[in-house]
């Protein structure tokens, strides 16, 4: 089969994007259905009732510890930096010594940030100074 010939070079990216999106949705839906099917159900009334004197509390189904956000943030940070390094690695020869020097500096700055986060205890659960 021939390659699909399109005028736009980014058409492939678009297709990938659509597929990824679909796959992501599918994964989440499947995971949710599976867990619902597999989990043991215990629907006692007392357990589900709200204990509050006064107005009914707003329902917050998924309370997440802020630690998760922090971790996510750190992960995102360093992850994105890695993404930045890929194109450099691919074009290493083209970019030459100049690119190398730039990347070294970049990593150096990153390292300072990493050490800072580490020292501040950002990588330990519930232990931020």
């Amino acid at each position: 089969m021939d390659h699909i010939v399109t005028s736009n070079p980014y058409f492939g990216v678009f297709v990938l994007f659509v597929i990824t999106f679909g796959a992501f949705m599918a994964t989440t839906v499947i995971a949710r259905l599976a867990s619902r099917a597999l989990a043991a159900k215990d629907s006692e009334k007392i357990k589900l009732s709200v204990y509050e004197c006064g107005p009914e509390i707003t329902k917050q189904p998924n309370r997440v510890s802020p630690q998760f956000y922090l971790f996510a943030l750190l992960f995102l940070l360093f992850d994105v930096e890695i993404v930045f390094m890929f194109p450099w690695a691919v074009d290493f020869k083209v970019l030459g010594w100049f690119g190398f020097a730039e990347m070294i500096m970049f990593i150096l700055l990153l390292a300072i940030g990493f050490v800072y986060a580490w020292k501040k205890g950002a990588l330990e659960w519930h232990n931020i100074k």
Partner: protein, 502 residues
Amino acid sequence: MLSPINVSMESLNLMTLAPMLIPVVGALLILVIDIIKGGLHKSLYVVLSLLFLAMDFVAVADSSGVFMANGTTLGLFDVMLIDGLAILAQFIIVGASMLFIPLAMTHKRFHEFSYPEFFALFLFMIAGFQFMVATDNLILVFVGLETSSLALYTLIAMHNRDKSFEAAVKYFTMGALAAGFFSFGAMVFYALTGSVEINKIALVLAANGYADMGFVLIGVAFFLAAFGFKLSLIPFHTWAPDVYEGSSAAMAGYMSIVPKIAAFVVAMRFFEFLVHSGIVWLDVVLYIVVVITMTASNMWALVQTDVKRMLAYSSISHAGFVMAAILIGTTQANAALFLYWILFSFTNLGSFSMLWVSRQKHLPDYQSSDHSYNKFAGMIKTAPIASVIMALFMLSLAGLPPFALFWGKLYMISSAVTGGYTILALIMALNSAIAGYYYLKLIVYMFMKEPVQGNDGHVYVANATLALKTIIGIAAIGTIFAFVAINPILEFVTAFVYNSGY
């Protein structure tokens, strides 16, 4: 296969980057020091910050020498643009920061200054502002904007009071929206012209004769909203009073000066070519925005009961006043903008510092807020020198001769008249008159009312140390003796603005 690229170091012109790198290095150094040995006294960090800011100032002065000799310099793949505007704005940014940072040496302990991160973030923020003004690449402007804004949000929150958190979150949320506006505007222009550099955008648009006027205007509308937020133009100003109130007085004073001059420079770069290409829409809209901002914020300032909020609204009004320069768009007006802002930074930082000096930890009963008017009642009896200095700043803000801002207002209004905006000049003058009312209100409180029972005048200097007094002294001297320096400053500013082609 692409052939390896060769970058000659000369073409990079790395010196253009020096003024921004100095605070970055300083910030990193502070972080490293903290990691190696924590718990050091804040005075070390204050001195370190001052040192790096001084180096920064020297670097800016050096680049101003280069500018005077060679004119505008490009650097780093033509991303950096060191022209007169960039240099002037950096002078103001770094100068005002140098005046601000000693205000951390308060008598009382405040939460934020015990963190070395405060100083590191502060320096990062300054680097961000410097990047913002020293480029005409919209992406770098955006990066600078975000660097500085994110740092600023954190700095506000570090004041560690409920109101501060609230302010920081509000500022952050609205700032995110404004950043969205900015990137959207940039996107529109990129779509229209295929470039993110303002001068190229201008060239392309001029070449096709503004064919897609509708899209240009949509882009302009987004930009206007984004700058409107940064410059607190109505109706994008709503964050300002709350944020000013939530942050410490010193920080509020700083915020009324430095972020705005950065935004002014970007706005000047961006709107000037549009104003000059005769887009009526922009003229009309800017006119309306300027007039409403000046007038409405003045009216709101009248009804405030807290001095700090009053000053917040007055800062909005001043920003509107100065925004008129961008509307007028002549060299004289742009020079007047810088002159005004230089004078304004002395005066406004001085008046906010006076509030900072009188900051208490606990409020007595008769005070509804930190700096309510009745706190200053009869101040002349209990703290005569402080009240005279405060009155001095108020008179200057009101634009009374011969104090600093009078000259700023004078040149601004005269530039409006020579630019043909006679009615605008009239409105500006009228607004100065209205503004006089609420500044004098504070003076009336200080000089003509009886002190509240139990106020022995200690509160006015509760927070004073030598460092704070020095800063206030510098501001006061700058305010009083401005008239000596007006001519040289104006000549300097005009030369720089003119040689940058604005």
